[in-house]
Amino acid sequence: MSVTLERPVAAQPEEPPHRMGPVERLTSTDHKNVGILYCVTAFGFFLVGGALAGLMRVELAEPARQVVSTQAYNTMFTIHGTVMIFLFVAPFGIGLANYLIPLQIGAPDMAFPRLNLTSYWFFAGAGLLILLSGVASAGGGAAMGWYAYTPLSELRYSPGVGVDLWILGIVLVAISNVMGGVNILATVFLMRAPGMTMWRLPIFTWNMVVTAILGLVAFPPAVAAFALLFIDRRLGGHAFDPLGGGDPALYQHLFWFLGHPEVYILILPFFGIITEVIPVFSRKPLFGYLGLVLATMAIGALSMGVWAHHMFTTGVVSNPFFSAMSLLIAVPTGVKFFAWTGTMWKGKISFTVPMLFALGFLLNFLIGGVTGVMLASAPIDFHMNDSYFVVAHFHYTIMGGSVFAIFAGIYFWFPKMTGAMLRERLGRVVAVLLFVGFNLTFWPQFVLGLRGFPRRYVSYPPNIGFDTPNLVSTIGYAVMFSAMVVFLADVAVSLRRRVPAGDDPWGGNSLEWVTSSPPPEHNFDALPPIRSERPAFDLRHPELAP
């Protein structure tokens, strides 16, 4: 039974929120605390991965090898990829889910609060192990690339303990993801407030449901692959060792059966953020809610059947089948683009910082999507595979897409999490610098790939067309770096000299905007009636409520 909530007449002066001590911070099972722990830790890993990218860009600015040793370079791209995928983008999504899902469905906490904190600690520990794997062994750390292809990752070719630490770290990440996924599904299926039917779930929550299912299906086979790899290395196995009758291609199948759904684990939560932000700042309901949810489900289902498009040049898979599946996945993704555009159509669009990042997302991600369609064609991939074209493509989806959405989400929900606004003007500077820097960094990488520059090269011969694009790309990195400096300054200033946010600074749609900022420990004193996917809007505009 829902209780009607009176809207506060005027914004009351904000009380400074309860300050948690470090021990309470690290041990509280409150979903909001766990969510913030996840997001802050993940963002820390983003800075680590970004610093590694900077070293690589400096090395590549000129043709010859100048700055780092070849071994160090190989370690850097291994750790950069692992950190960005498994320790930043995916856990940031889980962090936001932890924070937002109970608020969006009108629940007091996640279904299993202790499991929630445990999954955070598995993730944090895994992160430590993975960083250690990069530095811990004599003669260089884990340097086999983030997909750790066999036989290169076998003991014979990677004798250091770095690979073992890396395997352990990834397995912990997988366990943490499975725990997080179970928790998200249990929470959404069992703890929705009265009136919050599945077809009234906010899209962010819907996307996290599909993401959680993907994780539950895709991680276990990967754990099997990593366990077999460990047995090969330390316990005399031959699963992937051709000299002992094993099969390196089997590893690739198991790995990409995780690896491809994983890229949708890296994007669906952020499609969700964009789908929350655009309706709010267009002052409109979402265009085609049902179609959008079905499109997300279709993406989830198809993403299970496209893994071998990473293996077009191996000669061991049926290319046309995986090519067709990969092309098809463009269709539901297109549905999303039209839904977002349809939502802006005839709206009253205001260009707040979250909306600017959302627009950056749309512009970048479209390029990621279009180039993805090109790569889905096996013959085109015969040229592009393992080239910088692929590097540019996935950075356009994950950096230009997911990371832009992460910043949209940070600027959108930071006021809810802290009770203080981020600075609008600084935020605009961050958005513009990041957009310019991003495109300057990654657009030249398409050119590099077309011209034949392979990924994972520490240096390249001069005067065969690789020099200029590499230099421009490094300059682009410097611009993105400055964007991050401004962003961190924005956070520091906004936390120190607080501009109170009030409950609902944006005119939000979902339930998190009807409680205080930050919300009380039990989240809600009372809930408004839930009659659509935007109960907070219905509360403000009862005349338009269904």
Binding site: Q71, P248, R283, P285, H541
Partner: protein, 252 residues
């Protein structure tokens, strides 16, 4: 009316010229110095040209909505947009058109793949390519010629494979330690070399010249230095080269 017609008439040849340019443009891709590569190049053109209107429509809609439907400074910040929630017919259209586009792209892609994968039963030349950390061994079986990488951890001129123009060469690809990949960017083609397996593909060079080649699958420390080259020459010159190499290697 007449003005519209006249500008329409002027626009048509301009549009055709633009289309003609698009169809001959390379969009940054090398044109493919083999028959197989030329097929892949044409496929790339099809994909790129198909992408232009798609991206144009989506970007156009985004920019139009953002500019046309922005909230003016004079408007109330809480003013609402139109509250419609969807349009089923429109949704079916924007689901249906992309399906048709990807069916077309798939047909083009699958056709080209069949041609690129075709292996001649009776090739003019056979070259065994063996990849190892970190170099290449090119053997011309039955002709007594082998070319091997000099050891390197720097950029040096790698081993050079010589092929006759206009003739079909069968490459027999193996690896004897980890996975490598044989890539000649100007041929728009690469294939992985996986230890324990043997792969066969054909190359039919159509242009003389020296082409840069490299390992494309990360294979450990000196991966970046595992380069080679392919020199394509006239068949008579190729025969001469084989004879010289054979004599030199027999003497050694």
């Amino acid at each position: 009316m007449t003005r519209a017609l006249r500008s329409g008439r002027r626009a048509t040849p301009a549009g055709l010229a633009l289309l003609g340019t698009a169809c001959s443009a390379s969009f940054g891709m090398p044109r493919g110095a083999t028959e197989q590569g030329a097929d892949i190049f044409r496929l790339w053109q099809i994909f790129f040209i198909a992408a232009i209107p798609v991206a144009g429509v989506v970007y156009g809609l985004i920019f139009w909505s953002v500019i046309r439907y922005r909230r003016r400074r004079s408007e109330d910040p809480d003013a609402l947009g139109s509250q419609f929630r969807g349009n089923h017919r429109l949704e079916l259209v924007y689901m249906g058109i992309p399906i048709l586009i990807v069916i077309g792209l798939f047909a083009a892609s699958a056709t080209v793949e069949v041609r690129v994968d075709r292996v001649s039963a009776d090739p003019d030349v056979v070259v065994n390519v063996e990849a190892y950390r970190w170099g290449w061994r090119f053997t011309y079986p039955g002709r007594g010629v082998t070319i091997v990488s000099p050891p390197s951890g720097e950029f040096v001129a790698g081993p050079q494979m010589v092929l006759p123009i206009g003739q079909t060469t069968r490459i027999v690809l193996t690896a004897n330690d980890v996975i490598h990949a044989f890539w000649v960017p100007d041929f728009l083609y690469k294939h992985d070399a996986i230890p324990g397996r043997t792969f066969v593909f054909d190359l039919t060079p159509t242009r003389a010249g020296t082409f840069y080649g490299e390992c494309a699958e990360f294979c450990g420390l000196n991966h970046a230095y595992m380069t080679f080259s392919v020199r394509v020459v006239q068949p008579t010159e190729f025969t001469l080269w084989l004879a010289q190499m054979r004599a030199g290697q027999a003497a050694a």
